[in-house]
Symmetry: C2
Subunit: 186 residues, 2 copies
């Protein structure tokens, strides 16, 4: 990842960033077109292979690109990118290049054709793992095949959507590892 602060990160540890439930920016590319969408409906599903499930509504312009490519990138924005998060979620890629409009810099990935977003704290390159629930639920299961994370800050301020235009910003961390059974910390 030349010219970038990201470092390679173990894919099996992606849960650190995704399990707390932040809004993410999902980028895609297909047949010369690219796009990015805002997404809050996702969950970790497994450590290894590293799986993440995403409900990507078929009403989104990104849906076709993602469905055809069978790939995407899950990018983790921070509070500093909230204008872009809101803007991306309130425009359609059918009429706007959202990267240009919202000052997001596309960066080539190592495995997938979809662009990573340089301004994000982390980026997870994803390949389709399971699509049985796509026809009925628009629910994709992705395997995270590469993970890139900025080494600092240790705890980026993430934004978490509650609906009605209101976001919750991540707060303090509480370390309760001393109360965990050792095998629960693997």
């Amino acid at each position: 990842m030349a010219g970038n602060e990201w470092r390679a990160y173990p894919v099996a540890r992606a849960r650190r960033y995704l399990e707390p439930g932040p809004v993410v920016l999902v980028s895609s590319a297909w047949a010369g077109e690219r796009n990015v969408m805002t997404l809050g409906w996702h969950t970790v599903m497994e450590f290894s292979p590293s799986l993440a499930g995403c409900m990507i509504s078929a009403g989104n312009h990104s849906f076709r690109l993602i469905r055809e490519a069978g790939e995407c990138v899950i990018n983790l924005p921070t509070l500093a990118l909230l204008d872009a998060v809101v803007g991306v979620g309130n425009t359609t890629g059918a009429s706007v290049d959202k990267f240009e409009r919202f000052g997001l810099t596309p960066v080539p990935g190592e495995v997938v054709a979809a662009p990573l977003i340089r301004e994000c704290h982390a980026a997870f390159e994803c390949r389709l793992a399971e699509d049985r629930l796509v026809p009925d639920y628009n629910f994709f299961v992705w395997e995270i095949v590469r993970a890139w994370v900025k080494p600092a800050p240790e705890w980026p301020q993430t934004v978490h959507y509650t609906g009605d235009g209101v976001f919750m910003v991540s707060g303090e961390t509480v370390d309760r590892s001393a109360d965990f059974r050792p095998e629960m910390l693997l």
Copy 2:
């Protein structure tokens, strides 16, 4: 919900509490047995019907109860319940009644047999909607058929798991509704 602060809440608005990604306590009951587990791997999947997807590992004692009953309750704990959240996640219902051990009060639901947890800020009664991904991924899709929420505080402090025994506590809220297209606020 006699003797309780909860009020009925529109099931289509459950995303307000679940989309930000908090740790939840999933309670279950089957054949005279009851249990509760800690869960961070869940996502909203639809407004109406109100759907939530949960990865419930088959290694959990709760798995069989939930699988057999086809029902559960998703309870939303706050920071005040962190001792119980950690305790529930580090014990097994095979040898302990976790309700008694951790001071959680089971309350009968209106639709499902699984108990609601009185100390939680909110409780969502769930019926199985979709189990095609259970055999391969332990992934259940639930329909939230009743929702109960305490009217105060407006923004409870929720806890969000990051792994390694560390929790993020929900912070401030930021209202950006003025920047949303009206149809995005429905």
